[in-house]
């Protein structure tokens, strides 16, 4: 897939120029300079020869086939050239030219036009308004970038072309290798999802990294990302995660950014690692690109300084990683090879006067220990420290044991030559221990994710037809919100427990209803006109017996008539009094990019303050539902504190799964919540006390 872009047999540069300094010259010269071995055809009606190659007026004049066209001409000529490419049978086009969607109404129209032509001929398009593509292993530098990164195993895609140039420059200085380097530009056709798919099985790419501002189709992204992360780590920086940032994205891309929570949930569910900065993006990607898989959370630290060792330990602990417990034999070996003042327990401190040999002894010992999954080597440049020699030792040993080794040679000037050596051995170096630990953590997250089975979505027996009818009726009446009775009916149809409830029109009916439900009961005035029933004293809890029911029936009716004489009164609703339990919320809000965003959290009166909630994109599996409950801070409250009986967690999981099924079955639900879901002791279930629905309006008829 997308082979034409990465390993084409022949390329044409449309708009190749003779004058250095022009983009059309830069692109052609990059292709030639960086060793492309296929056929290259400059296209320029006004030139005979450029850079020693014969020039053709149009692609149609080229004798042989053309697989990839790189278009570097003024925007208004692009449609015509695309037509010609179509006729020529070109498979891929990189449109570097700007002046499309990013530039205003005319540009938008032009982009649509170009895309229509591309679709008609089946040409895939990267760009427009992009920097181009670099594939180092082909090698092909189809870009106007200044330089070519070394061969490597990082595949990089970016929505921002300018960021590409900066990263490229930085990578050149640091000698960081890439497999592919793609600037997506306006993403008229090829987008993140296409590239993920294309790179999924690419033998040169060990890690895929993405800079994105927004996605076109969140659901499709999830589907593809889920497959890719089974074997290749994907790291993403998603910008626009604050209100102001998201506004900037909106005006930059013209699309409503999905909510930050939805992105967070989607990344989490698909195993895409989220980096919060470009720095982190590369911290993580170097570890994945250079080192073998981290198969557990236990890390050994070898350091020549106590302070940084402790900082690294703190970082490990607080990020959920573990300081490996060394085997007694390892400790013994360490004791024999290290001075008495050294610390032979993890973190292993070889102390300040350590030369390279002491590092070698310690590193060998911990790498051999079966309790150790990865090693962090910390070096501070002290008086006797052999920086380069130590780097050599680390590099040599790291390759022998199949365990990841990350380095933290702290400083800059003195340690510089050492870092260069580490880089040659593909040992990533981090200036501070916390960043190295962050990389380990990302590695652990990736391999744990791989070990998890693919999510299974359970389906319950439900009465889907009934719900469809309720929605159809509401929509036929031009409503987007549902009444209480309708909401209750939906809950019932999807097997969620609701309080028993009977409408009584007379005192006798009320007593009968209360008798059949069992005391105590709740009584509520039933009127379509009175919205805030408790405000007028229209709700009474804990009604204990028939006598109270009689008194209250009259009182409630009287109050309602008194406060709102014109209100239509149906009678009194007699309801099961839901026993006190733990209040939780289950909510759904449809995200424009990802679909139903499911929320779970602690309910009750403090919910607004505590915001103790967690999110997933529906549908969710049973494991994910359990994870949601585990994730909230108040999880321990649900487990029961100080001798309290635990709450019925199974009933919560069940409710989450049923809601997940409901909103997946009915995409017209744009919002809903159950607040509160009253959860009782384990085995006693949960009851949906109050719920609310908002539907999408009917699709417009136009």
């Amino acid at each position: 897939m997308l082979k034409a872009f990465f390993t084409p047999q022949s390329v044409a540069v449309i708009g190749a120029a003779r004058e250095p300094g022009k983009l059309g010259y830069g692109v052609l010269s990059n292709i030639l300079k960086y060793g492309y071995t296929g056929q290259v055809y400059p296209i320029n009606p006004k030139a005979d020869q450029i850079l020693g190659l014969k020039c053709y007026p149009t692609v149609l004049d080229v004798p042989g086939p053309i697989e990839l066209a790189i278009i570097v001409i003024p925007n208004k000529f692009v449609p015509q050239v695309m037509e010609e490419c179509g006729k020529k049978g070109v498979q891929g086009a990189i449109i570097i030219s700007a002046g499309f969607r990013e530039s205003g109404m005319d540009g938008i129209k032009l982009e649509h036009q170009v895309l229509d032509i591309a679709k008609r001929y089946g040409i895939r398009v990267v760009g427009p308004n992009c920097l181009g593509i670099i594939s180092t292993h082909t090698p092909l530098n189809a870009s106007f970038a200044a330089g070519m990164p070394p061969k490597g195993s990082i595949a990089f895609m970016s929505q921002s072309g300018a960021l590409c140039t900066a990263i490229l420059d930085w990578a050149l200085a640091k000698e960081i290798g890439f497999s592919h380097f793609v600037s997506l530009g306006n993403k008229a056709d090829v987008d993140e999802v296409d590239l993920l798919q294309a790179w999924k099985d690419d033998k040169h790419s060990r890690v895929i990294i993405v800079y994105m501002e927004g996605l076109r189709d969140g659901q499709k992204f999830m589907e593809v990302a889920r497959q890719v992360t089974q074997h290749t780590p994907v790291i993403a920086v998603k910008s626009g995660n604050t209100a102001a940032g998201s506004r900037a994205v909106s005006s930059h891309t013209g699309s409503l950014a999905g909510s930050e929570r939805a992105y967070q949930a989607a990344f989490h569910q698909t195993g895409v690692l989220r980096a919060t900065s470009i720095e982190q993006l590369f911290d993580y990607s170097l570890a994945f690109a250079y080192q073998p898989e981290l198969k557990g959370r236990n890390i050994a630290i070898v350091t020549n300084a106590g302070g940084p060792g402790i900082m690294a330990t703190d970082a490990l602990e607080s990020s959920g990683m573990k300081l490996a417990t060394l085997e007694p034999e390892t400790i013994e070996t360490l004791r024999q090879g290290l001075p008495a003042a050294a610390n032979v327990y993890n973190p292993v401190d070889v102390i300040g006067d350590a030369l390279a040999d002491r590092y070698e002894h310690a590193l060998k010992a911990v790498l051999q220990d079966k309790n150790v999954h990865g090693v962090l080597v910390i070096l501070t440049p002290q008086v006797y420290t052999q920086i380069e020699e130590t780097a050599e030792v680390v590099g040599r040993l790291a390759a022998l044991y199949g365990k990841p080794v990350l380095a933290c040679f702290m400083g800059e000037e003195k340690v510089g030559p050492g870092i260069k050596i580490l880089n040659r051995y593909s040992i990533p170096n981090y200036p501070f221990p916390e960043r190295a630990v962050g990389a380990f953590r990302a590695m652990a997250a990736f391999s744990e994710r791989r070990q998890r089975p693919a999510p299974q979505y359970e389906r319950f027996e439900v009465d889907r037809e009934r719900v469809a009818q309720i929605f159809a009726r509401a929509r036929s009446e031009g409503r987007v919100t549902l009444g209480d009775a309708e909401s209750r009916e939906i809950m019932e149809a999807y097997g969620l427990r609701i309080p028993r409830s009977i409408l009584a029109r007379t005192v006798e009916e009320a007593v009968e209803a209360a008798d059949s439900i069992g005391y105590p009961v709740v009584m509520k005035i039933a009127s379509p006109d009175i919205l805030h029933k408790s405000d007028i004293g229209g709700v009474r809890l804990n009604v204990a017996n028939a006598e109270q029911v009689r008194d209250l029936f009259d009182l409630l009716i009287f109050r309602a008539q008194r406060y709102m004489p014109e209100a239509q009164i149906w009678g009194v609703l007699v309801q099961e009094m839901v026993a006190k339990g733990k209040e939780v919320i289950i909510g759904v809000n449809r995200d424009p990019q990802f679909g139903p965003l499911l929320m779970f959290g602690l309910g009750g009166i403090y919910v607004e303050v505590l915001k103790d909630v967690t999110f997933r994109i529906a549908p969710v599996s049973r494991e994910e539902a359990v994870e949601m409950i585990d994730e909230i801070r108040s999880y321990h409250l649900l487990r029961g504190v100080r001798g309290e009986k635990p709450s019925d967690l199974d009933a919560i999981v069940d409710a989450i799964l049923r809601v997940s099924q409901l909103v997946t079955d009915f995409p017209e639900i744009v919002e809903m919540d159950i607040n509160p879901l009253m959860v009782h002791e384990a085995g006693k279930g949960a009851v949906a006390v109050d719920m609310r629905f908002v539907l999408k309006e009917k699709e417009s008829e136009e």
Partner: protein, 359 residues
């Protein structure tokens, strides 16, 4: 010839709508229709001529060829009222009768659009009962169900007492959907028992209170910069967008067919509005929106207008046009006709008037 006089219990009850709805039904069944509004109190100036806009629109809606002045023979404007008070007014019943005779020539059915209350025009001898007597009309009363049931019932009973056998019956209009069953099951039988036939119970629809995008643009002095072809589209709700984008979606989802007023520099809010049921974006501060948004709106069929005012002023201006709506828009008429087809007992009306259905 049959004459039907349509009056109401309160202003803005839906008289014009019923005149057009019934009138068109008669026309479709092959009857030659005449229309007159015996008495009015307002005149509007269009260019040089002082004409009544409503009368003009009614002519268009019913496809009539008579002069506006003829359709609308008496206008009690301020000078006319003063004359009446001095005892100097003309013989109004005669004017109305002459006009009626003239207009009803060659017609099978005359619809008279009466005052907004049964007793309107009493002072000049033009109350409902008087006109009905003069013209031999049957009276149909429209009651808008936006007050309590007691008031509706009392008003209709009072009209019945005043009009007696002249009263053909009533139509209950604008009934909240949640109340439909209640009205149908309890109110209708009660009135029927007291000899007030109910020809239809019509539900409340926001569409009838809606404003066209063109009207809105006029009200806020806006310039429609995207999809001016949608100027006749109707807006039912007005919302203001000045929140974070996450809450915007939740907020915008609750109202249908709305116009959203927000700053031209809020692309996130504009996009959120486009994501939900929106007919029109009203962008304040004279700030041109991002072209990407214009193109999205164009595709989504949403008009955009730019306004020089700030958001506050724009809201005030826009709110003024809501409620003061005109019925004479093809979309509203079509919807009202289909509502009548569904919920108005034409057979009964035809029988009561002694008409045959079908040409």
């Amino acid at each position: 010839m049959i004459t039907l006089y349509i009056t109401s219990t309160t202003p803005y009850a839906g008289k014009s709508a019923l005149c057009v709805g019934l009138g068109r039904h008669f026309q479709k069944n092959g009857y030659k229709l005449g229309y007159m509004r015996p008495l009015t109190t307002v005149k509007t100036r269009i260019g040089e001529c002082v004409v009544d806009e409503e009368a003009n629109l009614m002519r268009q809606s019913l496809g009539l060829t008579n002069h506006v002045e003829a359709i609308w023979p008496v206008c009690l404007d301020a000078p006319a009222i003063e004359a009446v008070l001095r005892g100097e007014g003309p013989d109004y019943p005669k004017i109305v009768m002459d006009a009626f005779v003239e207009l009803s020539k060659g017609k099978d059915i005359m619809i008279l659009e009466g005052g907004s209350r049964c007793n309107q025009g009493l002072g000049v001898g033009l109350a409902a009962d008087r006109i009905a007597e003069m013209t031999g009309a049957k009276v149909l009363v429209v009651a808008k169900y936006d007050v309590s049931t007691v008031i509706i019932v009392d008003d209709l009973l009072a009209d019945k007492a005043r009009l007696g056998d002249r009263m053909l019956g009533a139509v209950l209009n604008g009934v909240d959907r949640q109340r439909l069953d209640f009205v149908q099951e309890l109110v209708v039988p009660f009135l029927e028992k007291r000899d007030i036939p109910i020809y239809g119970v019509l539900p409340l629809e926001r569409l009838f209170a809606s404003v066209s995008i063109g009207e809105l643009a006029e009200a806020v002095q806006g310039e429609i910069i995207c999809r001016p072809d949608l100027a006749d589209e109707l807006v039912e709700n007005l919302m203001v967008g000045a929140m974070s984008v996450d809450s915007a979606l939740t907020y915008f989802r609750r109202k249908l067919n709305k116009a959203v007023i927000t700053g031209g520099d809020r692309p996130d809010i504009q996009l959120a509005a486009l994501e939900t049921s929106t007919k029109c974006l009203i962008l304040t501060g004279n700030l041109r929106p991002n072209p990407l948004i214009i193109s999205r709106a164009e595709e989504a069929g949403v008009a955009i207008m730019m306004v020089k005012h700030d958001t506050m002023t724009t809201v005030q201006l826009a709110e003024q046009v809501f409620g003061k709506t005109r019925f004479h828009q093809e979309k509203k008429i079509a919807r009202f006709e289909s509502m009548l087809a569904e919920r108005f007992d034409f057979d009964r009306l035809y029988r009561a008037l002694g008409l045959r259905k079908g040409p």
